[in-house]
Point group: C2
């Protein structure tokens, strides 16, 4: 039986704000945006053109049949999103200027310098710089 | 500033069980498995060789500095993982035989036949069959 894994979907509270964050701050490309009448929602697909990784941003209206309260704490099933960067220190300065200060790190962990920020919904976003030729 | 989006990380409660599900049931390839002493945890990277989508499965011990109680309900930030299939009816029969009955659907939504199962941690996994030449 063949399954093609084509994207990860996350739930967002403000679709405009999330599209801006993932495209303007993190540089993903907006591939598609569409309303989803069945779910009384709207979604956007963003992807990294180089790696092909795709993320679906899902927003639901309060009266959507699939909407549930958004937890105040971070969702523990969604551990984090992973982004590789060339220069962690410069990246953290860039993010801090835009209001995204690290919530953990920077730390050196194995062959990586690693820090985490939180996206507009509180989702953890890992930025890591490869310090050696090791594979992640 | 360049960010490379390289994987999505989810938290799992039993790493063996999750690796089996994502590799044996859904056919992803195990790329790497490693202990993470700093976090008192262990992780595995699985990916779809064809689409390049990658998923990191993160397990933490109870005394890990980053472990938190795993919510009983599904995590709302992680909406779902998306898998395209050729034949939804055959796919659902295959999944049902392995103990994964649909929790929603199958339904027809736009140009897609869609159903959801839950992975071993309760994370929603969407299976969709393209019914027309429309793009998702």
């Amino acid at each position: 039986m063949k399954f093609q894994f084509v994207y990860t979907g996350i739930r967002v509270r403000d679709l405009e704000q999330s599209i801006r964050f993932y495209t303007e701050v993190l540089g993903l490309r907006l591939v598609k945006r569409a309303e989803e009448p069945v779910n009384k929602g709207e979604y956007a697909l963003v992807e990294d053109e180089e790696t092909g990784q795709a993320l679906e941003l899902n927003w639901y209206s309060a009266d959507s049949p699939v909407a549930k309260p958004y937890p105040d704490q971070e969702g523990e099933e969604l551990d984090h999103l992973g982004f590789e960067v060339a220069d962690l220190e410069a990246t953290l300065a860039y993010l801090r200027e835009r209001g995204f200060a690290p919530v953990l790190g920077p730390n050196v962990d194995g062959g990586f310098a690693v820090a985490y920020i939180r996206d507009p919904d509180g989702i953890w976003v890992e930025c890591f710089q490869r310090l050696t030729s090791g594979q992640r």
